[in-house]
């Protein structure tokens, strides 16, 4: 019975793993002089500074937090 319940999760994990491998295997080496688009300020792989308060209220008003490079504790948010 447990195995039946686990099956969809395993399938989802397999899809994620296969997708990740497919994406990473399609990488091409990009030289420094070819990175003008990647170096654009909007292309950074993190939240913007202006999202600081947004991230705080979301972590207070929602049960989930983390995995976004920000804080994972500290501050009450009790109101």
């Amino acid at each position: 019975m447990k195995l039946v319940k686990l099956k969809p999760k395993v399938n989802r994990l397999a899809v994620v793993a296969v997708s990740a491998v497919a994406i990473l295997s399609s990488c091409t080496t990009v030289k420094e002089y070819q990175k003008n688009k990647l170096n654009d300020g909007e292309m950074t792989l993190s939240s913007r500074k202006i999202q600081k308060t947004e991230s705080s209220f979301q972590s207070y008003r929602e049960g989930a937090s983390g995995a976004n490079g920000g804080k994972t504790g500290g501050g009450c948010g009790c109101n």
């Binding site: 990473l24 989930a64 504790g73």
Partner: protein, 401 residues
């Protein structure tokens, strides 16, 4: 509060006017051994929310709240003899909020001392980047102080780029040692819950959070880069809040009671893609699960459109969905024989939508012709939760270089 805001802006402008005559800093051919100013950011936000499920009053009552937040961070850099780049970041934040629900710690009060508070949160960080071997190490300290809550944080991190400089692995560890003041609802106090006549006499208890984070970013091609993030967060101590009430189905009332440990596992994925020459697609997905039974999914998409090379508009949308923790039940539905209980709707099952737009100005001669004012960004967002809470936030980021 207006005075505080104007004061912060005044300090920033005074500080940067002092740099107005500073010569241009490092170029690719010269790396300063002296500590030089790199950039500073002032981020100000105004947030307001409305709702009718306040945890202080057991899941009913106004959640009206407003918050003004100002944060300034200043970054300095220097290169050492081994050609390693040192970055020092100093940050100070100040929040001031008014909250209708906090006012109800004392149910008879119309405007008690707890209806408003100010939080101050300074932090420092130091990064050492070795461009030759592609490694970065760093450490930081932070603190956060408000009337009923103190937090001290420390973190260390390490990054290593791949040989072709197209990938980067990062490991980070953080610890937050917090103290919660034991302020109980007035009707549940029996001598140990504090004394309104002496604000400093509240007993405190510990709440500690430890987290480890691993991430890997990879350039896929000249337009696409992605990142995988995995965190493991462990919390110990008083994880409930002493002034949150729970009303049971037999009409009795108690303060919220939750387990004293919580393990959280958030897994994140980011992908940013440059479409054509003017549009960027930024995306984020997070899966979250913890041992209180809460599972959540977050999807975020934003699309900066470069109207000109110096002006962009960014619409954004965020969808969030969570299940309730095992210990949640609304007002007067808990059974008093339960070991753990909460009526905090932040831990209930709901979906939320957050959408809005931002603009970004980066004129080559500076914003409003002020050379040091390198960037102005404005952003507005509206947030709605399926259990009735809604909020608005407007933020501004001024960047000085």
């Amino acid at each position: 509060m207006k005075k505080i805001c104007l004061g912060v802006v005044g300090i920033v402008l005074t500080f940067f006017s002092a740099y107005a005559q500073t010569p241009q800093k490092d170029s690719s051919t010269y790396k300063s051994r002296k500590l030089t100013f790199d950039e500073a950011n002032l981020v100000s936000s105004y947030y307001k929310q409305e709702g009718n499920n306040a945890a202080v009053t057991g899941g009913i009552g106004s959640q009206k709240l407003s918050d003004i937040s100002n944060t300034i961070d200043v970054k300095f850099i220097k290169w050492d003899r081994k050609d390693r780049k040192h970055s020092f970041d100093l940050e100070v934040g100040l929040d001031h909020y008014t909250s209708a629900s906090s006012d109800q710690v004392d149910l008879k009060a119309n405007s008690s001392a707890s209806h408003a508070d100010t939080r101050i949160f300074p932090s420092v960080s130091w990064l050492i980047e070795n461009e030759k071997n592609g490694t970065t190490i760093g450490a930081g300290l932070s603190s956060s102080t408000e009337f009923d809550y103190q937090s001290i944080g420390a973190n260390i991190n390490f990054s290593k780029k791949t040989n072709n400089r197209n990938g980067e692995f990062t490991a980070k560890a953080q610890a937050f040692i917090d103290k919660v003041s034991l302020i109980y609802p007035t009707e549940l106090r029996s001598g140990g819950g504090g004394d309104d006549d002496d604000d400093d006499d509240y007993a405190t208890t510990a709440r500690n959070s430890y987290s480890g984070s691993l991430s890997y970013s990879q350039i896929i091609n000249q337009r696409l880069q992605i990142m995988f993030i995995a965190d493991l967060i462990s919390q110990k101590g008083l994880l409930s809040l002493p002034f949150y009430r729970v009303y049971f189905n037999d009409n009795s009332v108690q303060k919220e009671n939750l387990p004293d440990t919580r393990m959280k596992i958030p897994l994140g994925f980011r992908a940013n893609y440059f479409i054509g020459d003017k549009v960027i697609l930024r995306s984020f997905y997070r899966y979250y699960h913890d041992d209180w039974g809460l599972t959540a999914h977050t999807v975020e998409v934003e699309a900066p459109v470069k109207v000109t090379p110096f002006f962009s508009i960014t619409p954004f949308y965020r969808y969030y969905k969570q299940t309730a923790v095992d210990y949640f039940a609304p007002y007067k539905t808990h059974i008093s024989s339960n070991q753990y209980y909460t009526s905090n709707f932040d831990l209930s099952a709901f979906n939320s939508n957050f959408y809005g737009a931002g603009i970004r100005l980066t004129p080559p001669k500076g914003v409003f012709g002020i050379q040091q004012l390198n960037m102005l960004e404005l952003r507005y967002g509206h947030y709605t939760r399926t259990n009735g809470l809604n909020s608005d936030i407007v933020s501004m980021n001024l960047k000085f270089k």
